[in-house]
């Protein structure tokens, strides 16, 4: 039963990792941009959420109403103002620029909020639980997982059933031809980054309710996000969810064996999958 519990808790934790990863996956899918600052953007969203809850006196989940549009706006401006200029045939400039951005965000957060760990207060939600067949499940992890599934289902639907999704796929497929068809790729990339950071806002809020955070933890979140994307297979959003779950389960099972092994066992699972299936478990079948 204890092991089953570890697997279930790990699965739910995987929902949070999938939220970390969904934005990364989307950005890479649409514009082949590897965003090193993604983890710091998650932490920034958590701080924005914290500020909103303190200043407006609202529940963290209600703060999403403010933080999602704020992050989406930041995403659009960031893409059109800076990141679009780095995109080209060379993969290195965007890596360097987003790395620099990561350093800047971290230090700005440090200046603005100090290095003290912070936490959002979500009241009863943090401790509420329900009992299912002898297992005790926290409402918060269950909610996080449900939101992750909803976000990924929503993105998937958007990609394959809306005009915007079609434009994303067209630009991803062939940027030059898309321009000739009247698509403004700079605008489309801006929208993609806005959407990715909207998802990041959700990830940041759930992170901030679940654990305490400080400006330095972005790098770790980035790694978890990357691992989830790579385990699942590039370009496949449902794969990303599966990747998050595998990573989460590996961590909780590892922690069950020895509490010190939690993070390490996640990385080991990642390396094993990378060694056996470098393309990930469910890479997108492309035509």
């Amino acid at each position: 039963m204890e092991w089953l519990n570890a697997v279930v808790q790990g699965t739910l934790l995987g929902g949070l990792y999938a939220l970390f990863a969904a934005g990364l996956s989307l950005i890479f899918g649409v514009m082949r941009l590897v965003n090193i600052a993604h983890g710091d953007l998650i932490v920034m969203a958590a701080y924005l959420g914290l500020t909103a809850t303190v200043v407006l006196g609202i529940h963290p989940l209600v703060a999403l109403i403010v933080v999602i549009p704020a992050m989406a706006g930041i995403g659009y401006v960031l893409q059109r103002g800076i990141l679009n200029r780095t995109l080209g045939d060379d993969l290195l400039p965007p890596l360097l620029v987003t790395f620099g951005l990561s350093v800047i965000i971290q230090n700005a957060l440090l200046e603005g909020y100090t290095a003290d760990p912070q936490k959002m207060n979500a009241g009863a939600l943090e401790t509420a639980s329900l009992s299912v067949g002898g297992l005790s499940l926290g409402i918060l992890p269950v909610l996080t997982f449900a939101v992750a599934v909803a976000v990924i289902a929503g993105l998937q639907w958007m990609f394959y059933h809306t005009a915007l999704g079609r434009a994303f796929r067209a630009v991803s497929d062939n940027q030059d031809i898309a321009q000739l068809m009247g698509l403004n790729k700079r605008h489309i990339f801006g929208l993609a980054m806005a959407l990715a950071l909207a998802v990041t806002a959700i990830a940041g809020i759930f992170l901030g309710i679940r654990t305490s955070f400080d400006p330095s933890i972005g790098g770790g979140r980035l790694i978890f996000g990357f691992e989830a994307v790579i385990i699942g297979g590039l370009g496949n959003l449902w794969g990303t969810l599966a990747g998050g779950v595998i990573l989460g389960v590996a961590q909780t099972v590892g922690a069950k064996i020895d509490p010190g092994w939690q993070v390490l066992s996640g990385h080991i699972a990642f390396l094993l999958i990378l060694a056996v299936r470098p393309q990930g478990l469910f890479p997108r079948v492309s035509g």
Binding site: A163, A167, R169, D173, I177, L180, M181, G182, S286, G287
Partner: protein, 242 residues
């Protein structure tokens, strides 16, 4: 008749290689213009200059009464310039229908049902309707060429640029394609068509221009141009003053 497109001294060179050497000509509204010339003469570059994927070094481009020289490819596409590529370049991860919808929504600016109706109508015209839900990456060469044409037409173009669309097709395929292009021309769309399959070209165009080394070397009535000594020289290597 008024001019839909006017090139006025358009030039472009890459280092010592000149792909457009002060190109000047006009295309009348509703006219079908054929373009011939040896490989590497600058015919496709001329299309790149007209669509805006290649910026010109000097000269002016006027489309539908507007100076478009400084406009982006996306803007020119929305104002009615569409092209097909010699080597078909579909969005291979999208279905045939989605490929068409991109052009109809983004380039022609249609929405919802109206865009869908246009796409279905054009897919029928280009004989791709039965493959509407096939991924574009899985099409045969003829169907890819048809998709190029479909996408260009779904943009509701005023000016259609065709780049060797008949190349590599069988005789029967070519005949059916020529008929489709004739119908498009008859509907009032102005056409510039680069083609090495001369008989297909001559079945459609009203006028012919010859390009060599980025220069316009001859133009006029198709038959006269084909019989002219410039064309004989270029294609048969006969020296005029030998």
């Amino acid at each position: 008749m008024s001019a839909i497109l006017k090139l006025d001294g358009v030039s472009k060179s890459f280092g010592a290689v000149t792909v457009a050497d002060s190109l000047s000509y006009e295309l009348q509204q509703g006219e079908a213009l054929g373009v011939i010339g040896p490989n590497g003469a600058g015919k496709t570059s001329m299309f790149n200059l007209i669509t805006g994927t290649l910026p010109s070094d000097s000269g002016r481009l006027v489309f539908a009464g507007q100076d478009v020289t400084r406009q982006s490819a996306a803007t020119r596409s929305r104002s009615g310039i569409a092209r097909s590529f010699q080597v078909p370049q579909p969005f291979s991860g999208l279905t045939v229908f989605e490929n068409a919808m991109i052009a109809a929504t983004q380039s022609a600016g249609l929405t919802g049902r109206e865009a869908e109706r246009l796409c279905l109508q054009i897919l029928e015209q280009t004989e791709l309707l039965s493959k509407a839900n096939t991924l574009a990456g899985k099409l045969t060469l003829l169907d890819r060429k048809r998709l190029e044409l479909t996408r260009a037409l779904c943009a509701k173009p005023k000016l259609l640029l065709l780049d060797e669309i008949a190349g590599g097709l069988t005789e029967a395929e070519c005949t059916s394609l020529v008929q489709t292009i004739k119908d498009i021309h008859a509907s009032g769309v102005s056409i510039i068509w680069i083609e090495h399959v001369v008989h297909a070209l001559l079945a459609v165009v009203d006028r012919l221009i010859v390009i060599d080394f980025g220069k316009l070397v001859a133009q006029g009535d198709p038959k006269t141009v084909m019989d002219s000594k410039e064309v004989q020289e270029i294609y048969l290597g006969i020296e005029a003053d030998a």
